[in-house]
Symmetry: C2
Subunit: 202 residues, 2 copies
């Protein structure tokens, strides 16, 4: 609960709103003087707990979200193209993320941004280990080592546990932020979160 | 699609986020120079189409929403107390609203604000016709006449049809706004909607 603890940024790689949040969150952290802790997890674990489905699997909400994502992309001047196979479960990308994160969180963040960019502009599937490893290798990382690690039972169980623990803490959406214990759900809540930090809550 | 068509404000009387939107939407309309068309409907009709449940009937989301509503109330300096029987289906209030709206939309808006205030600060049930009629009478309206109208088959079918038509148009949430054909979902999208109107879209 200290004023300089990191902001937790929880997300699923196949979440359109998380993509837009990922593009903005570094600048946000700099404005408020906080470190960002990137925390990918499997949103499907939360869906089981809430009995929900993803936006893109829900009538009416699917159409609205697709329109809204294009609208946000135009507003921010960033590319956006929904993959044909959307939504895809990006388990491989999450596993590789945490392997990199153990060594260097800054590199892990760069990798996460590359995964988002690959998925939402070029349709590259974060659930395909070969594609994910090629992406990591393109950033200068050791693909052979990461591929071996991503196949291990240890990292599979770890990602499962991280997702279950997130849900146990009340996290159910993407993006979902925790600041000094305070939860904020959604890309469109970043301005409120900024006001919360600046005022020290209200 | 003209630049001075009214903003449609779709809502369910038992929606916490719609309550906050209702308190702000008049000032919003004045800022952007547009009339607001208040359109209560039964969110349950949308839930059937999307296969969703309300926030307050969903694990995790329920806890977040309750915390978030209190947080918004403190931010805006407005009272908020969730009724013990929440969520309540405010069918009686919707029916009476449209009866009043036929005669005078401004009075209907005043009535709608009174329903929100009664529900979210004093726990008065918008599904209870006696309570709703007492509320209307307290505004100087003819309670006897409204009670008779609210019990008619005509208004029951009309409210059902309005809700079904809303869903057929892609409306599925509360609050949900339509501006010149463009949909905006959620209280927290009011700033984006304002930018949209000011810039004439993007």
């Amino acid at each position: 609960m200290t004023g300089d603890s990191p902001i937790e940024f929880w997300f699923d790689f196949a979440s359109g709103y998380a993509y837009f949040a990922a593009l903005e969150i570094d600048a946000f952290g700099q404005r408020v003087g906080r470190r960002i802790k990137w925390c990918p997890y499997t949103l499907g674990t939360a869906f089981k707990a809430t009995g929900s489905r993803g936006l893109s699997s829900t009538p009416l909400k699917r159409d609205y979200a697709q329109k809204d994502w294009q609208r946000i992309a135009r507003l921010r001047g960033v590319p956006f193209r929904l993959p044909e196979h959307h939504p895809s479960v990006a388990l491989a990308a999450i596993r590789v993320f945490y392997l990199i994160d153990d060594v260097d969180p800054t590199v892990a963040k760069t990798f996460a941004l590359a995964v988002f960019e690959a998925y939402f502009t070029r349709g590259i599937d974060g659930g395909n280990l070969d594609h994910v490893i090629a992406l990591a290798a393109s950033l200068g990382l050791d693909g052979t080592n990461l591929a071996a690690g991503a196949g291990s039972q240890a990292v599979k169980e770890r990602v499962k546990l991280i997702s279950e623990q997130a849900v146990a803490l009340g996290i159910f959406g993407s993006p979902f932020f925790i600041v000094d214990g305070e939860p904020f759900w959604g890309w469109d809540r970043i301005p409120m979160m900024e006001e919360w930090i600046e005022r020290g809550g209200w």
